[in-house]
Amino acid sequence: MKELTLSINDKQVKGKEGNTVLDVCRANDIFVPTLCHLEGLADVGACRMCVVEIEKERRPIPACTYPAREGLVVRTSTERLEKYRRQTLELLFTERNHFCFFCAASGECELQGLAYHYRMDHVRYPYTFPNLPTDALNDYLVLDHNRCILCGRCVRVCGEVVGNHTLDFSKRGWRTMVTADLDQPLGESSCISCGACVQACPTGALFSKVSAYRGRASEGKFVRSVCSMCSVACDINVLVKDNNIVRIDGVNLTGVNGQLCVKGRFQQVETVRPRIATPLISRKKGTARSASWKEALDLAATEIDKCLSRHGAGSIAGLVSTRCPSETVEAFAGLMRNTVGTSALDTLDGSTYRTLVQGITASGGNGQGLSIERPLESILEADCVLVIGADLLKSHPAAGCYVLRARSRSKAQLLVIDPKQNDLGIRADLWLRPSEDGVETVIKTLTRLLAPPGAGKSRKADTAAAQAAGVDGALLEEAAAKLKRATKVAVVFGEGILGRRNPRLVARLLQLASLMKPDGLKVISLKPRANSRGAWEMGIASQARVGRARPKLVYVLLGDDELMPEDWVAQAEQAEFLVVQASHASPLTEAADLVLPSPTWAEQAGTYVSLDGKVRRSQAVLQMAPGLKDDKDIIKELASRLGSALKERRQ
């Protein structure tokens, strides 16, 4: 980029071509007040706070929209500008009802901040005191119109970044209101509660129900971490006060991986699940009692040792949740493989992994494994996104928003193939909704329609196939046409494909994907948990030995995962002795003979590998609750007990 030299406040400063005057000011530490500007959003020049004087321009002009040019002479702080800015603030304060003393944003509010900056001790205009409603019908966020300054940051973040376009303006002039859809209450609108608008709001007009009044930024500290709610593994900034989570923000709201979703932003601020505080020993179902760490670990070591000696290493199985960070998974695998010596080790989502790699192999991608997959950002560059068997906005909402954003920003076409209810489906240009069994037929037919000419095509057969799959033939052809026309297709698939445990289906899908421009196989599969890919890459899930082992003792490391495939529960319950290491009570801990308390995601540091292979490191954001131990330490202590037990026995 070409470098530019500008004169700002009589100083020569550097900028880059494509910069706005505001960009140059910010890059050179020149203060220019803003309200409607938010880095990464299109600038609109609405609030008029950043007005600057530019030589040869008749009137003050917003710095945020003015392109920097070589030799531009700018003044950012003349008497006239400061007067206008103060007047603008006065107008904003009198326009609606800004009462800082009971506003959730007080202390962090940009309007309040600028009022302090300009020492606005009074206003001269009559207050309007409009009688405006507050919309609190959404489960997580509140829109209080009384505090809205109509800067439009929420509207733009919802459209440009989230791509959902729920928020917009209604009415005109002084009656203008931020509105959801066609004037729906937020809770009944198309809002996906991602909360990007809350983070974008400069005042307290949009605020989080779960975070409001829990504390201010100035009272706590922000800890950078990683969200473990799904395999997108977003970067998060966690505000902590008194060892409690106050709020979770996206690290780079308008960039890639920063907008967060309802789970990441709101659902983990406060958990209602009952915590396990101490080790629990239960000789009979429902008779659990607290035990000391020593007693518990001794018991675990003894039982494992007993089982080893009675039934051999093969009778012991280890299961680990892929929500656990890699270090924990690794420690657990080390314990099971090296100390216990069993190879009956799997992750909770191992079958998904096996279906996927087998499919890749079957499609000719032998040995390539997950490396055929593309980064999530490639969705943003696509001009057509094909989503198969995945309800992204539910399972991986942040990734779902990549699709919406591509659709909104670069007008990408969206095709969805899913028999199930699908929130992306209702937003798609085309939603093929075959019967449960028809998915494969649809994929097969689409492949045939897209194949080069002369490859045994029969329209009649296609129509019949479509009919059999429960899809309108014309729609199918339209879908094929769209895919053919597109130059950059991204194929995203998930549980609806992987959950069928049918590698052939995966192979067929990959074959279809290989016909897409530009280079085929631009696929992204959606992994079930935050660290699925990390755990899989350790080879833990390569072979399903656990199922065949019919283990006598099962050791499940659940961490703060709350899901457990049902067949595992059954298997685990059949074991003679069940050890569950988990942070919260669940049916599985109920069934366990021994429960070891885990810390939560927030109480431990660790590494996660996102669904598209990015390594992300998280920090502990909270101090561990008293009496708890890190998962790795528990494993280490257990290993050491076992080691000495085994050593003792061998001796």
């Binding site: 009198t94 109509l150 917009d168 009656r175």
Partner: protein, 1029 residues
Amino acid sequence: MKPLSSAEELQSLREQARGKLAQQEKTVQVKVHLGTCGISSGANKVLAAFQQEVKGRKLSGVTVSNAACIGLCSREPVVTVIDPKGGKTLYVDLSEDRVARIVDEHLVGGKPVDAWSLALDSPLLKLQEIRVMRNQDMDPMDIDLYIARDGYQALAKALTGMKPEEVIEEVKKSGLRGRGGAGFPTATKWGFVRSSPGDEKYVVCNGDEGDPGAYMNRAVLEGNPHSVIEGMAIEAYAIGNVRQGYAYVRAEYPLAIETLNHAIAQAREYGLLGKGILGTGFEFNLEIFPGAGAFVCGEETALLISLEGKRGNPRQRPPFPANKGLFGKPTTINNVETWSNIPSIIWKGAAWFSSVGTENSKGTKTFCLVGKVNNPGLVEVPLGTSVGKIVFDIGGGTPEGKKLKAVQMGGPSGGVIPARSVNVPVDYESVAALGAIMGSGGLIVMDEDSCMVDVAKFFLGFTQDESCGKCVPCRAGIPKMREVLNRISQGKGTMADLDLLTELGEMVATSSLCGLGQTAPNPLLSTLRHFREEYEAHIIDKRCPAAVCQALFKAPCQHTCPVQLDIPGYVSLIKEGKFAESFQLIHQRLPFPSVCGRVCHHPCESKCRRGQVEESVAIKDLKRFVADLARGLGVEYLPQKAEPKEDRVVIIGAGPAGLSAAHDLALDGYQVTVFEALPVAGGMLAVGIPEYRLPKSILNAEIDVVRGLGVDIRLNTRVDDLDSLLKDGYKAVLIATGAHRGDKMGIPGEDLEGVSDAIDFLRELNLGKDVKVGKRVAVVGGGNSAIDAARVALRKGAEESHIFYRREKKDMPAIAEEIEAAEEEGVHFHYLTAPTRILGQNGKISGLECVRMELKEFDQSGRKSPHPIEGSQYSTGTDMLIEAIGQRPDTSFVKGDGVKTGKGGTILADRRTLATDHKGIFVAGDAASGPQTVTEAIAAGQRAAFSIKRYIQGLEFLPLVERNGHQPIAISSVPPTEAETHEKRRVKVTQIPLSQRTKSSKEIDLNYSPGQAREEASRCLRCDLGLGE
């Protein structure tokens, strides 16, 4: 029809069409003008009636056809009849029942019905320069007619004979500037778009005309749609890489959309739109996009965004549409009228276009003349024409002789041009210099009944609702300005509010995002600039001079009355027959009810709401009725007098101001002495007004009431030392010496015998002196004194009485009824005539040399200035000349007392408190203000009395006056019955026969009978009850 494939084919089609037209012109053509306004006035029925009559009578040689609107909106339905022999006749105000007579007398009989036609040489038609609206006399739905008049020849010329650069150069030479309002040079804009890189560009026609009361563009789209299409096609060619154009027309213009749609379809059929136009490789398509009704979509960026299908909010420029416009492509966007001008610029040349206009504003402009003007409608004049010419000559001035106050120019975001600036030529720069804008051409005429605070509020209300709401200054600033204005119009404003408004207005104008916000404060800022005193009246005096701001008053009549008389109260009491109570109600506020019942200039009647029904209530006559009746019945005015005080006040001058002050001070117990230089009391009432208007007996009776309160009036006493009065123990001095000195004309011969001054003439007569009156008396002037002198001269034996006035009758300052009466009595009026020399023989006057005058430019008063016509001098014989051109106070007695005098010898004092710079000395009436009316003098006397009381009590002065008249008198609050509100003209007072008038000094007007008075009083609408608001 096969598409035209070459320019030659177009030319042969033109010849064909001309032939068709020539055939038609051999017949009698009846053209019914069917614009939107015509249709809504019933033009369709008139058309049908003509068709039926012509068909029914089997008239051959008559063609009945449609035509478009020619701008005579207030005279619709309008029909043009063109007779190959008899020429053109313009029928106005038609209805279908008038058609038969026109057919009979004109179409059959060959004689136009003059009674219903508008003279073609009326200034309304003559002063216009019709260019943009050149085709409004034809059927806009017929493309052949357009082609017959060289339509699309300009396009052919450009496509086949001009390079694109040459087209732009021609437009540049023409000096055409954007007609949408900003006046940006059109060719420069085109140049930007042409040089902007891109292989896809657009042209857009801005037809989102949203100003209230403006419909210039509608008329063009309805009447001359092909000129817009052709203009856009020419520009598309000039810019290059344009294949598509859009016409954004507001959806509220269904007829415009229909007409333009039809024209586009025709042009497409003829191959004038589409691919390969006229056999060249040029392609251009045009589509209409109906706008959804947002005013802000007239702003170019908002319009383009709306055209893209999004919420029509403006965006910050740069980038400009020339670089990034519709769908991000370079785009030209011009106003309908701009487009319409293009074909003739190319066809007739830049020189033709620029032959009219001013140096920087070339060509003609259409304007919508609306509001308080006699000929509202659409006019087209060369740029540079003065506002006055448009309003007075073309527009016919303001109705009912009310005074022009201002012209709002440029719609709701324009500004006011005050009456004193109507000379300003309407061009882009001059208008902007006054704080208004050209805008798209709306001209709203406002008269004395418009309140400028209210006007600002109204327009801000419009822009407040039409703001898009995006940027803070516009969205929040406009409502704040309005809220502050609101409190001012409710009398709750402060002077600091004016600074606040100025500051806020400037901020909104400077820092708003788009043109809407940048211009929205114009009505506020321009009214503040030109009518600040009106704002101050609301704030300081709690008065709305135009009697508009409801919160400040009960009824407009009372509010307009200088002494704030409870007019609805006394009129209502008369209606109820409670005459004595009515009299008390008047007298406790007004010391001279009988006098004012005769000579008041009654501003109340001009604001009377009954006047909007048919005629105002005869408020003055009712006052006289009840006062005379009371006196006849011996009803006495019995005020409650306060305990006598020690403090003594001296008043110099026993005129209406002095005596009113004396009355009020005496009522409060002060000891008042009045010094009067003349041998009689009453001032001008006694020595200025003739007996036939105000009998001395009546005046004296009312002065006696003042005396009765203990006021000591010392006649024949001249005062020449003010300070000594204060030293003598008087606590305060009020100067109320009036204006008793006549102005001189300053022409040769004024020293001749037989030349006198109206003031002197009337005074001497009134004092009973024997004044010799000539046989042929000439009076110079146009005020009440001139009329009085001329009428008195007749009564004193003059054979002829002549009045010479340098302007026109409507400009005369005298009371209209007085002028009428003088005419009836046989006074000769010589308008537009001024004496230049008094001729004499042997030191005596023998004649008068006069010159004829013509009215030219407008002066500060909003009237045209008279100028002598060279060589028009003539002489006329006269043996007496009375000068009545003006009068001034004689304040020679004020010397070195710290009391200052100003313009015209007036004594300087605070306008509101009437206190001079000298402590204890006050001044009221004509001595302070120069010649004013009786009632204003009375009001001033009351003001002075109030200030003097506060001064003596050691209190601060107050700008607001507390007048007498607080003793409660019960007044009915029964509103008029429905029958009473029905149209009913005023009850006229009886006058003595004309034959008796000039022979005696008897009062001319007789009084109402009680029955007549009650009937007249029942016409009062009782605005004071606040019903129906």
